[in-house]
């Protein structure tokens, strides 16, 4: 069935079954491969995208529900928080294998937009749905604090 999708500010037309997870539509049909498959059952968070501004696991989101929504992937994630998060990630050399980091960053950007100065506990709450097997959690936490500071300092 044909669906039109609004992804990263552009409209795309895809012809797939409505029960196809958004993840595979993004990766295989739209070639937006920054969004990763890690578990397929909403356990690891590697497939996190923003749907209408909210972080969502795209492996657990059907295409038929996505056509009415505004979808942003790592490739199109933009704005003050996103830039600050990316800068902090690179400055701290957060990634190791890097495979989970797209999802981590999507969760972190959504966190900063909702909570401009998150505490450690708030970071735990927002980020515990994202698994990193390389164990970069402490650097992720530090980078989120860095980015929060950077956003605040540019806004004041």
């Amino acid at each position: 069935m044909a669906y039109s999708l609004w992804v990263n500010g552009k409209t795309h037309h895809v012809d797939e079954d409505g029960q196809t997870p958004l993840l595979w539509v993004l990766r295989d049909a739209l070639k937006l491969t920054g969004t990763k498959y890690g578990c397929g059952v909403a356990q690891c968070g590697a497939c996190t995208v923003h749907i209408d501004g909210q972080p969502v696991r795209s492996c657990s989101f059907p295409l038929e529900a996505a056509s009415a929504a505004q979808i942003v992937t790592i490739e199109g994630c933009d704005g003050a928080e996103a830039n600050a998060i990316r800068n902090a990630w690179v400055t701290r050399d957060v990634p190791q294998c890097g495979f989970c980091q797209s999802g981590q960053i999507m969760s972190a950007v959504a966190l900063l937009r909702a909570t401009p100065a998150p505490s450690d506990a708030e970071i735990d709450l927002a980020m515990s749905g994202n698994i990193c097997r390389c164990g970069t959690y402490n650097r992720i936490r530090a980078a989120i604090h860095d980015a929060a500071g950077q956003v605040r300092s540019t806004q004041s």
Binding site: R27, V90, D93, C97, N130, Y137
Partner: protein, 736 residues
């Protein structure tokens, strides 16, 4: 040399090592030998081939472009451990290149150009220390020679710094790019002079950082899963739910009717479904009806295996032991009645890298093209050639970064890669991307082997071990040899060096659950065995665990352990008070030449250990990248913590029960302790960091629990996470 045709130049190198490896009769066999001339045509064909590296006057590992950028060719696999930056730093240091204008590319598999491309045993830094420094120093000497000639000044007065060659007395200077053409014409020195450690400007500084953080932070890093090619098809395979199970019959009618499914056929490892996209392949696989022949399959459960291992250790089976360590008088004599007995059990563990196993392959007659995050590129090349019925020289392996591995992509038999080539062979000239789901990966075996340990220690009058009897039961990782991996970390332990009589035996039962190398291999359980025993012995004789170890290290002459212990206790505040309910646990273990000590601060909350802080001290020789050493320590502790707290793969009637992160939990953000890493200064040759951070954390926690409760930890994991995975698994339909 430049005008010889490529095919001829290939045979002009005078010394050439070749690798002929493969799993002949299922076993891994790697033969390396040196050839000079007569059989070289055949030899080159057999040897690791693939496309020749880009031509460079500075050897296989260094290219310098006219804009002055230095490109380092990384022959190792980048799977998160940061080896690309480590190797580049060795070259940049000796070359005196501008670190900010150094980039790294991955080498394709090519034995002639790069030697064996095997990323294992945390050896990538140690094994490349001399070759990379020599390559960098040789290139530097060529620039110095070019400048000396151009300016007619003596070489010894020429300095190189950050990619600029200068002559102090005259004030003349030139960049690499200005001297490039002249430097390329200089003779390559065979034994260039290397810097002394005290003269390093880059190595050991915080300037040595990863080069891939940006692409990995914007979703631009391409992993095997992301590879897109024209006409690409995606394959999934339905595997036997039991190890050793074989395909009996299958019905593909429903699978073929799934939209997007292109073909369905049986292969050696199951039923392959090839489709236009990943989800169609998965739907097609779900629509298969399969009957498996379980006549030769493993049908036991974990509890049966544990019982069996205990029987093996007690000598009640026909598995014969072999000595791994035996010394002193009459080691097999009976121990006195007051000897202390210890028993440990460890489970199977899955690697569970974030990127599941995947591979892209295209077979066109004799030619095979592979794109994969390949751990053992030159072994994988031979394996691909074997199943495609071609020669390794016609297999082009494009090695790209892997989304983790922890050993899973380093299987000698290259299971997933071989499977992909088998499918690609059935679909000639179509690139095939094989995707394994998380469930496929976790139930595929090649686990860290489960093991059972029985140790009997007789203490001398001085309170230290006098006689030590050690029995280890663990499946062998390699088909041949002494199963040394199962006892690594025991055989060379300083605690054994101090004992007079040692009777160490290993039992190596073999059965069809496949086992493999898992980050830190045998150390992953042996550190727990040795360090937890030593703490229990110290408490038994009423001594402080740190002081007890100190005395043992002195006896064994383990100077590096002593230095680590000293610094660790100082940094962690060993012996100082903690809040009520908290305790510290200490563990020190040498793994692949690197000595790591960790002290964990732990409390017990509703029976669950909470680890809030870990202090780590490491002696890894010369520290190349302190930041990445810390990163590997943090990662190793997280990885070891997952295993210590809740890592276990169990089987029930031969079927793996933990198939995804809901039933095989791993550490998450809220469970990660704070970690401080301190690096001991050293002038020794650098050793690896990819694995040594893993082993000490489990015994450090167990020793803290021992201090809190007085109870030893005799098996891992410490917590039994629900073994049930109701609702979340997504299996294909199976007729039992």
């Amino acid at each position: 040399m430049t005008d010889a045709p490529a095919s001829k130049r290939r045979f002009q190198m005078t010394r050439r090592k070749m690798i002929l490896g493969g799993t002949l009769a299922g076993g891994a066999l790697v033969i390396g030998y040196t050839a000079t001339h007569p059989m070289q045509a055949a030899g080159a064909l057999l040897s690791g081939g693939g496309p020749e590296p880009e031509e460079s006057a500075f050897g296989s590992f260094i290219r310098i472009s006219p804009d002055g950028w230095v490109t380092v060719v990384n022959k190792q696999q980048e799977l998160g451990q940061g080896i690309h930056a480590g190797l580049a730093a060795m070259i940049a240091e000796e070359l005196d290149a501008d670190w900010d204008r150094v980039r790294v590319v991955s080498a394709r598999a090519n034995f002639r150009a790069y030697g064996p491309q095997i990323t294992a045993g945390s050896r990538s830094v140690a094994s490349n220390w001399n070759p990379m420094r020599n390559a960098g120093a040789a290139a530097r000497a060529m620039f110095v020679a070019a400048a000396a000639m151009r300016w007619s000044v003596p070489r010894r007065l020429i300095d190189v710094r950050d990619g600029v060659v200068s002559h102090g007395p005259s004030g003349r200077s030139a960049t690499f790019s200005e001297l490039l053409a002249d430097a390329g014409r200089q003779a390559t020195p065979q034994t260039p002079v290397l810097k002394e450690a005290k003269d390093y400007r880059l190595i050991g500084t915080d300037r040595v950082r990863r080069k891939d953080s940006l692409p990995k932070s914007i979703g631009a890093q391409i992993y095997t899963q992301d590879v897109q090619l024209p006409d690409l098809l995606v394959a999934m395979v339905a595997h036997s739910p039991r190890f050793g199970g074989r395909l009996a019959r299958f019905d593909a009618v429903a699978a073929r009717s799934v939209r997007g499914v292109v073909d369905v056929f049986a292969i050696e490892t199951g039923v392959a479904v090839v489709a236009k996209n990943t989800f169609a392949a998965r739907r097609g696989r779900n629509a298969l009806t399969i009957e498996w022949d379980n006549s030769e399959a493993e049908k036991r459960s974990t509890a049966d295996l544990v019982r069996y291992f205990h029987d093996v250790a007690a000598g009640r089976t026909d598995v014969e032991p072999s000595d791994f360590h035996s010394k002193g008088e009459d080691p097999e004599a009976a121990f006195s009645a007051d000897a202390v007995e210890f028993s440990f059990d460890f489970p199977y563990l899955a690697h569970a890298p974030m990127e599941t196993l995947d591979c892209v392959a295209r077979v066109d007659g004799w030619d095979v093209k592979i794109i994969s995050g390949s751990h053992l590129a030159t072994v994988d090349q031979v394996q691909a050639a074997r199943v495609a019925l071609t020669v390794p020289g016609r297999v082009d392996v494009d090695v790209i970064p892997a989304g983790g591995s922890f050993g899973r992509r380093g299987i000698m038999g290259a299971d997933y890669l071989v499977e992909c080539v088998r499918i690609a062979k059935r679909m000639p000239r179509r690139p095939i991307k094989l995707i394994w789901t998380r469930e496929d990966e976790m139930s595929s075996g090649f686990f860290r082997p489960m093991s059972h340990h029985r140790v009997l220690v007789e203490l001398g009058k001085d309170g230290f071990p006098a006689r030590w009897r050690h029995r280890t039961v663990s499946q062998p990782l390699l088909p041949l040899g002494p199963n040394a991996q199962a006892v690594e970390g025991v055989a060379e332990s300083p605690y054994l060096a101090a004992a007079k009589v040692i009777d160490g035996k290993i039992y190596s039962p073999t059965f069809s659950v496949p086992v493999a190398f898992w980050r830190s291999v045998g150390h992953s359980h042996n550190a727990m065995v040795m360090e937890h025993i030593v703490d229990q012995l110290a408490r038994r004789v009423g001594r402080d665990p740190a002081g007890y170890r100190r005395a043992l290290y002195r006896r064994a002459g383990a100077k590096r352990h002593l230095a680590v212990l000293h610094e660790l206790c100082r940094r962690a505040g060993w012996g100082t008070g903690l809040e009520a309910g908290w305790a510290r646990g200490l563990a020190i273990h040498e793994c692949f030449g690197t000595v790591v000590g960790q002290i964990a601060e732990v409390r017990i909350d509703e029976g669950r250990p909470i680890v809030r802080r870990v202090v780590a001290v490491v002696d890894c020789g010369i520290a190349i990248s302190p930041d990445q050493i810390a990163a590997q320590m943090e990662g190793g502790i997280g990885f070891g913590l997952s295993a210590a707290l809740f890592g276990a793969v169990t089987i029930k009637d031969g079927v793996v029960q933990e198939t995804n992160f809901d039933s095989y939990p791993v550490i998450r953000m809220n469970e990660m302790p704070s970690i401080e890493t301190y690096i001991l200064p050293s002038t020794n040759r650098p050793t690896g960091m990819g694995e040594p951070g893993v082993p000490p954390i489990a015994p450090a926690i167990a020793n803290a629990i021992l201090a809190l409760t007085g109870s030893p930890t005799n098996s891992l994991p410490m917590l039994q996470a629900g073994a049930s995975n109701g609702g979340f698994s997504f299996p294909h339909r199976t007729v039992a």
